[in-house]
């Protein structure tokens, strides 16, 4: 089978001895027209893979930063089908950068798993990370729909995940694994790099999949530190906070957000 975009991305980075820089933004924040130009600008600034948030009214695992981003996107009624359309537009110019949808299950329930997976694959999406869908609940219909359409399912691992369960989650996931570096919601406390390194040693006993680390990466310094122990650095709240500060100057969002991406890239590659 032809290697998919996510696997190809991590393979290429591995050959170069580099780590993936994975920015997260909420689709439609602060307005639908901003998202696609922002995605291109982040890629130009050194992003390797984009996690694109599906707006949801009740993002329980997220902090106030992402909750407010969802509220801004929902003011313009950004639906899941609109998010899919944004990725389709993005693909007109960029066929290489993987795009992973991140969000909550309920909007997907409304489309139906099979319809979602078919439409997502057709739009050029590569995988999905559904925060409130652990492997136990994904087993069966959701997994089958994703696999049948060549989409990866990315799962979370947490500091509280016990070793026996790490193995189970590693076996269920594909594409990469997302290690949540702190107990808490997005945008909360700073991470402890040594604790992350210790946990990733355990994770790597059970998988050859790349492991990205997110939550608590706030600046160039923490991005650099995480890149020394992980395969990917996931950064969200810092970028979304910048977007929030530019709601009145939306034309500046792609340049100013990608400037942060470039700064992180430089630090990681140094």
């Amino acid at each position: 089978m032809e290697m998919n975009r996510i696997a190809a991305c991590f393979e290429r980075l591995k050959e170069q001895g580099r780590q993936a820089l994975i920015p997260y933004v909420t689709a439609g924040d602060p307005a639908p027209g901003v998202t696609v130009p922002l995605m291109h600008a982040m890629v130009d600034a050194g992003a390797d893979l984009i996690e694109l948030g599906i707006p949801f009214s009740d993002p329980m695992a997220d902090g106030p930063t992402i909750q407010l981003a969802c509220e801004r996107a929902l003011e313009h009624n950004t639906r899941l089908i609109d998010v899919l359309a944004m990725v389709k537009t993005f693909r007109e110019k960029d066929q290489q950068t993987p795009v992973v949808l991140m969000g909550y299950l309920n909007p997907i329930e409304v489309l139906g798993y099979t319809s979602f997976a078919e439409q997502a694959a057709a739009a050029g999406i590569d995988g999905a990370l559904i925060v409130d869908l652990p492997p136990e609940e994904a087993e069966g219909e959701f997994d089958n729909a994703m696999k049948a359409n060549g989409l990866d399912t990315i799962y979370l691992l947490a500091p509280t995940t016990e070793e026996s369960r790490i193995e189970q989650v590693c076996n269920a996931g594909s594409g990469y694994l997302y290690y949540v570096s702190v107990k808490g919601v997005t945008g909360s406390a700073s991470l402890d790099v040594q604790a992350v390194a210790d946990k990733l040693d355990v994770v790597r006993k059970y998988t050859n999949l790349p492991v990205g680390v997110g939550f608590g990466i706030k600046d160039a310094e923490s991005a650099k530190a995480v890149s020394e122990v992980a395969d990917g650095v996931i950064v969200g709240s810092v970028l979304v906070n910048k977007i929030a500060s530019l709601v009145e100057q939306q034309e500046d969002i792609p340049a100013q957000v990608s400037a942060i991406v470039a700064e992180l890239r430089t630090a990681m590659d140094a």
Binding site: P55, F56, S57, D58, P59, M60, A61, G63, P64, Q67, E71, L74, N77, R79, L80, I81, Y104, L105, N106, P107, I108, E109, V110, L111, V131, D132, L133, P134, E136, E137, Y155, L156, L157, A158, P159, T160, T161, E162, R165, V169, V180, K183, G184, V185, S188
Partner: protein, 406 residues
């Protein structure tokens, strides 16, 4: 109506993964999975432990004041002219509602697992008060999340919680009601999972909460069943209870599931009327989806966003419902209807005037529907209504509707 074998299977739910047919489950982020698994193991062990059971029963008897009476409301019955109406007096419990049955149980779980801090979400404030009460008694730190709108309309309960030593955190996000309080409580739990026990107030949320809340609340139905047999010499023809998240209803219904001749009627909040869209009646007018850790009927828009609810009663103002109710609806074992704000307020006034019992506005929804049902039934038939809470907390709301400042 399902046959006898089906009824037995329905009563055995949930399965080992917390599913009630297609409903329930454990739809949470990874950080909480270990805590939920630990809670499940602890609960399954302790629920079968005679020492735990004895302590729970002792607290219900001597601290809560159980059994609560089953009261034959002869004046209300006469007024309606039909079936005999009996009230299960959960309003007489310590703290004034059924909520304390569950918080006693969960606080014991917190004690047995050694967690020094408890958190809770609350709508009307009854669950918050019941949580603050048991926390005070066991010396646990307690923080209660409450939507900013509910903080306004339930000021009395907010103050009660503060007097009990709890900190009330006003939630400004989203619709500023119960669902947002639950989001914030989940966020707190994710952050402080090592030392914190989350006392969920209704029979919803991720497995094992719907099951354990039901088990703690089932004392209502067990007592009512025995009391009805003793007083009337037979089982009731119908049970009626209000449904927000649905803990008082499932507590009354569950011990009767295999009594196929007993109708079970859950009463949702019809708000300004189901046809207006301004209500809190997911079983009546919603559809299945996933929120707050379980699959269940929800109020959502075409794109799967949770929509705002309206009810005069803060305790019913929630866009979801416990997963077991979704299952009882689909299997046909229980039926669900909606009662509007106005009908509930009329029932509040009627019960107050003819029986001298002032019901919570939540419970008034059940009273209103029971009054309708009674008129259509014979005098030798029996309806048991769960009077889940007392109305003292609602005096401000009632006075405001009357244009009176108290």
């Amino acid at each position: 109506m399902p046959n006898k074998a089906d009824l037995s299977a329905i009563a055995q739910m949930p399965d080992e993964r917390g599913h009630f047919g297609p409903y329930g489950g454990r739809f949470v982020s990874e950080t909480l999975m270990a805590a939920l698994k630990q809670l499940e193991e602890t609960y399954e062990r302790l629920w079968r432990d005679p020492d735990f059971q004895a302590e729970f029963d002792h607290d219900l008897a001597h601290y809560v004041g159980r059994p609560s009476p089953l009261y034959h409301a002869t004046h209300l019955t006469k007024l309606c002219g039909g079936a005999q109406i009996y009230l299960k007096r959960e309003d007489l419990n310590h703290t004034g509602a059924h909520k304390v049955n569950n918080t006693i149980g969960q606080a014991l779980l917190a004690k047995y697992t050694g967690k020094p801090r408890v958190i809770a979400e609350t709508g009307a404030g009854q669950h918050g008060v019941a949580s603050a009460t048991v926390a005070a008694r066991l010396g646990l730190e307690c923080q209660v999340y409450m939507g900013a709108e509910d903080v306004q309309r339930q000021a009395l309960n907010v103050y009660r919680m503060k007097l009990l030593g709890a900190e009330v955190i006003s939630v400004e996000s989203g619709t500023r009601t119960l669902k947002d309080a639950m989001n914030e409580a989940m966020r707190d739990w994710v952050t402080n999972v090592d030392d914190t026990f989350y006392i969920i107030g209704t029979a919803a949320g991720p497995h094992p909460y719907p099951k354990l809340v039901r088990d703690f609340q089932s004392v209502i139905g067990r007592e009512a069943r025995a009391q009805c047999l003793e007083q009337a010499g037979r089982l009731p023809d119908a049970l009626v209870a209000c449904v927000g998240g649905g803990s008082n209803a499932i507590g009354l219904f569950h011990p009767f599931i295999e009594d196929g001749d007993v109708r079970m009627v859950g009463v949702e909040a019809g708000g300004y009327g189901v046809e207006t869209g301004q209500h809190a009646a997911p079983l009546t007018a919603g559809r299945p989806g996933v929120l707050h850790g379980n699959r269940t009927y929800l109020m959502e828009d075409d794109a799967g966003q949770i929509i705002g609810t309206h009810s005069v009663s803060a305790g019913l103002d929630y866009p979801g419902v416990g997963p077991e109710h979704s299952y009882l609806k689909d299997t046909g074992r229980a039926e669900y209807v909606a009662i509007n704000d106005d009908e509930a307020m009329d029932a509040f006034r009627t019960l107050t005037r003819v029986e001298g019992i002032m019901p919570a506005i939540e419970s008034s929804h059940a009273v209103a529907h029971a009054m309708k049902m009674a008129k259509e039934m014979d005098e030798d038939q029996i309806i048991v209504v769960n009077l889940s809470g007392r109305g003292d907390k609602d005096i401000h709301t009632v006075a405001q509707l009357d244009g009176i400042k108290v």
